[in-house]
Amino acid sequence: MTPAAGRNAGALAAGLLFGTGLAISQMVNPRKILDFLDVTGDWDPSLALVMAGAVGVAMLAFRFVLKRGQPLFDGEFHLSRLTKVDLRLLVGSAIFGLGWGIGGYCPGPGIAALSTGSVEALVFVAGMALGSFLYRRLAAPRS
């Protein structure tokens, strides 16, 4: 297998696994997300356990993976080298959180929910693409 084919196959396999995890944990149901964020209402802590399960596995596995000098099908690990907590990070994350709490979708579940044929998911993903475009046009640092 060529490295490019390996990367493509790896990405497809990882996407399948990710989508299955989102469906099993019902994170594709926006009500479940809103019930997690609704700490003053009938709180549903499920999302915290989804994250705990994911972080638990990844924290362990990342240690072994990153001990290898490089990934199987690429020359280097593509990790962020940024370390500073700045206003851009915090304001961006706050804007994301605001939108998350309105619709009950973050990017993964929103895209995965396209599989249900939901009109909501389609509108949400179109909105995300528009938001991505607006950021590039209006707010991205000029380089």
Partner: protein
């Protein structure tokens, strides 16, 4: 906490962690869905689109094999969904990640930026739900 589903949450979460580990091991990439989506929209290369296609197919296959117990939301105002999408797209582009990139992968690497980002979007999300659900009375 009538709707708490701890077992399926942990199993699903473990699969997401396994997916992130597999992607890092094979391709050296972080399984941050917003980053992959923003990249897919403006960079060349098939792997991002394949990951996103897998995301949809994996979720679809599971929901087909094991039809969910929940009833799909209906009647939620679509203009609000669009607004939510724009804010999520813009905010994740500016903040450099979302629940998966910062929340799962970044925290697993003990990145201070990701921990700060995750706390920020969690608190912002809680305030947002309080305002939209309880103050403005948007039914969801």
């Amino acid at each position: 906490m009538a709707n708490f589903t701890p077992v399926s949450a942990l199993i699903g979460g473990a699969l997401i962690g396994a997916s992130a580990s597999l992607l890092l091991w094979l391709t050296g990439r972080i399984a941050g869905v917003s980053g992959i989506m923003h990249g897919a929209l403006r960079e060349r290369g098939a792997w991002r689109w394949l990951f996103l296609a897998g995301l949809i197919a994996g979720a679809g296959a599971w929901l087909w094999l094991a039809p969910p117990a929940f009833v799909a939301r209906s009647g939620f105002p679509l203009p609000l969904v669009l607004l939510a999408g724009v804010l999520v797209g813009f905010g994740t582009a500016q903040g450099g990640g979302c629940t998966s990139g910062h929340g799962v992968c970044g925290i697993s690497r003990l990145s201070v930026r990701s921990i700060a980002a995750t706390l920020t979007f969690m608190v912002a999300g809680m305030i947002s739900v309080f305002v939209f659900r309880h103050l403005l009375g948007v039914a969801s």
